[in-house]
Symmetry: C2
Subunit: 124 residues, 2 copies
Amino acid sequence: MTGADAEQREKGSTFLPRFDDKGLITAIAVDSLSREILMVAFMNQEAIDQTRETGLAHFYSRSRGRQWMKGETSGHVLRVQEIRVDCDQDAVVMIVTPAGPACHTGAVSCFYRKLEGDGLVPVA
Amino acid sequence: MTGADAEQREKGSTFLPRFDDKGLITAIAVDSLSREILMVAFMNQEAIDQTRETGLAHFYSRSRGRQWMKGETSGHVLRVQEIRVDCDQDAVVMIVTPAGPACHTGAVSCFYRKLEGDGLVPVA
């Protein structure tokens, strides 16, 4: 990234997502009411476009090698209220209203454990 | 990932970070008081170890190709209170106390703009 590019990305009013070498940016979903981080995944250009068009969070799965809509099987969609972009535009935070537990395990959030000593314990 | 691996990662009490093909996991820093997302970056094993040893957030910079401590030049370190791990252990949320603005632009958070129409506007 040249200095001019960096400055435009940081200070500008143009959405210029900075995709990595796989064409992805990081995408974080936050509950609009509790402000809890629900999940984090990746988006490609198509996932960004479909999220903006439908108002429902879409991602790109690196393991499955395809785009997906959160809730496409469970029904637990994430309705997007707002999309925030970070300084260098390689990450977004989506403020969402979840239709159910965000984690496929049934937990409200994917971040249901914390490090304690050398192991993991449930988040209180 | 086999089914057994996935189950151990999701339900177990062992910290088994699932690094991507570059040896990285996603790392999100959240302010312990405001609960605002301050920044998002990546960590390799060494950054995880140094964060846990020092209590200060360390990351791995993909663009600079090296590990760094947040605040190593600005002094705006992130003191880590808690580290949460997601279901498949490829991402962590760090609950932190920031020593200053988290963003190198001087903003409290890197997420100081939001999408509106086709452009970006300041977060209110």
